[in-house]
């Protein structure tokens, strides 16, 4: 048994009590969600959407299958048909199970045309599983709802690049290449 | 003073009533609840909880004997407490013999406790 004065006077116990007492008079950090809303960070990734071309009104997806291959939780399933003459792929159905999604954002990063995106919309839920398995129709609907929220012509986010936006409106490149100097030779890392 | 053959402890009446009231309070809540609460029983609901698994074997299984010494020690020290209490109340009327005998009594019991602690009765890990 230790017999030091700090042990006998319960110094560590009293310190603990004082810490909780100090927190007691602090302002609580709780946000009472339905009454007040949280500020969403610009890089937040929420509900999925399929970008629609404003000129043609069709989904941008070209069925290249990159997203479904790269998806770590394998929640994207794409059905397409190949045009016999031109060899062009045409999208028939795009099914995304939001229940299995881990919101890593690989799909939108890998997409060559910027078709599948993760929006900032976080307040979505469903009564049954089918509500949260998005097909093409729902994804397009998601995009339309998302666009309607913004008064700009195009929504732009500095974390993903929308094809067709004028270059000067685009933000600076996301990742600056690491410049490594090796004997006077410039190499982009 | 009342004759002992006519003595009835009337000041304990309120304790008795308190026991009855306490019992009725709990029972009344249960009976009142039985009118309003639902009854949808099926087998899975009535099975003892075992973190979702099927219960394996009977719950009444042999437990470590380490708990038993605590019961015995408790009985010993409870008797000791029962002997200390009249001593404390009658303290001012005690002669020096009466005073010293309780000190000796406590020291003997402390000796017994020290013996048990030295032998590791209350150590949970086997030596």
């Amino acid at each position: 048994m230790r017999l030091s004065p700090t042990y006998l006077l319960f110094k560590d116990l009293v310190t603990g009590l004082l810490i909780t007492l100090r927190t007691f008079f602090r302002k609580p950090v709780t946000v009472r969600y339905p009454h007040e809303k949280v500020q969403v960070f610009p890089s937040f990734r929420g509900r999925h959407a399929m970008v629609v071309d404003p000129e043609t009104g069709k989904p941008r997806c070209v069925a290249c299958l990159k997203c479904s291959v790269v998806c770590p939780s394998r929640c994207i399933k794409i059905e397409y048909e190949v045009d016999e003459k031109t060899g062009e792929r045409r999208l028939r159905e795009y099914i995304l199970e939001a229940l299995r999604c881990v919101y890593c954002g690989y799909c939108e990063e890998v997409c060559p045309v910027g078709a599948i995106v993760l929006t900032e919309w976080f307040e979505y839920s469903g009564r049954c599983r089918e509500d949260l398995i998005f097909n093409l129709e729902k994804l397009v609907q998601n995009w339309k709802e998302h666009v309607a929220k913004w008064d700009k012509e195009f929504y732009e986010n500095k974390y993903w690049v929308l094809k067709g936006v004028p270059l000067k409106l685009k933000p600076a490149p996301r990742r600056m290449g690491l410049v490594v100097k090796i004997k006077g030779v410039k190499v982009d890392g | 003073m009342v004759r002992p053959d006519e003595y009835v402890p009337t000041n304990y009446l309120s304790v008795l009533i308190m026991v009855i009231v306490g019992f009725i309070f709990g029972l009344g809540g249960l009976i009142f609840g039985s009118f309003v609460r639902p009854r949808f029983y099926y087998k899975e609901k009535l099975v003892p909880y075992e973190c979702g698994n099927e219960p394996s074997g009977l719950p009444w299984q042999k437990i470590a004997i380490r708990y038993y010494p605590i019961a015995i020690l408790f009985a010993v020290f409870d008797v000791e407490l029962g002997l200390i209490y009249p001593w404390t109340v009658g303290f001012s009327g005690l002669t020096s013999t009466g005073f010293l005998v309780m000190i000796g009594f406590l020291l003997v019991l402390l000796l017994g406790l020290v013996y048990d602690l030295k032998k590791g009765i209350l150590d949970w890990h086997r030596r």
Partner: protein, 337 residues
Amino acid sequence: MVSNNLFLEILLILIKIAVVLGIVLLHAAYTVYAERKIIGRMQARLGPTEVGPYGLLQPIADLLKLLTKEDIIPLEAERLIFLVAPLIVLTFAIVNLSVIPFHPSFIIADVNIGILLILAGASLAVYGIILGGWSSGSKYSLLGGLRSAAQVLSYEIPLGMSLAGVILAAESFKLSDIVNHQAQSFFGMNAIPQILGFIVFLICAFAETNRAPFDLPEAESELVAGYVTEYSGFRMGMFFLAEYISIYVMSLLIVHCYFGGWTLPGWLLTIFPPLKFVPAPLILLIKVYFFVFLFIWVRATYPRYRFDQLMSMCWKILIPVSLLNFLIVAFLKRGGF
């Protein structure tokens, strides 16, 4: 022994009991709310806010929920004992209130052995815990009941031992006598000369009421809910009601035995005379509220003890220390102090 007289007496007792039970049950219900609120604030949360203004109707909602919940009796349970166990615990928690004075002239049962009745009630309430755990027919309940029994039994001894020091100082089992003795003594409270006994009593009070950091029987992480695992609805509510009532009993005991009950120490009155006009129940209430707050405060602060640490602390530290406290008081009193 006139029957008419007896009837009036019983009516008077019933009114007294109704007053005490009303006050204490209201307090117990709102202690649950206060506990959630205080622990919430101590963890920088808000606590209950939704039911009523500031969540003030939360205890009533809880009570209604408990009353209307399904009462499940497991198939393997010993039916009769399973049904009776929570009643035993609640009854003896309530009986303890009968010998505690709330005012110099307000006590339900003015008996000579007040403190002993509380100890007797505590030792009988253990059966509710042991039998409840044993009869549930679940392994968690069995272990929880066993642990709880071992814990409550062990901590009853230093509790009684430190109380013996208090009884020795006043030479009476009556709580009102103990309070009056403290008011006349030099320090005005037992907590200063019997500081060792007070600390031991405080620790044991936490353990006897199964509160954190000694809430081993209800250790969620290892034993699900201890002996209440199989209980549901109002039966579970009875266990928790008994716990909160016994918090008040223990706080009242601490205040009466160590802090002079409804009196203020004489030296404080000489330093600050206007305190003489504070009414007695208010003093008692403030002291009791402080200790109830301490119960909650400690729960928000300390982690749970391990079982072997709990046991060895009781037998290796608390019992020798409380014995030492008792011997010091005895020798001082014999020496004429």
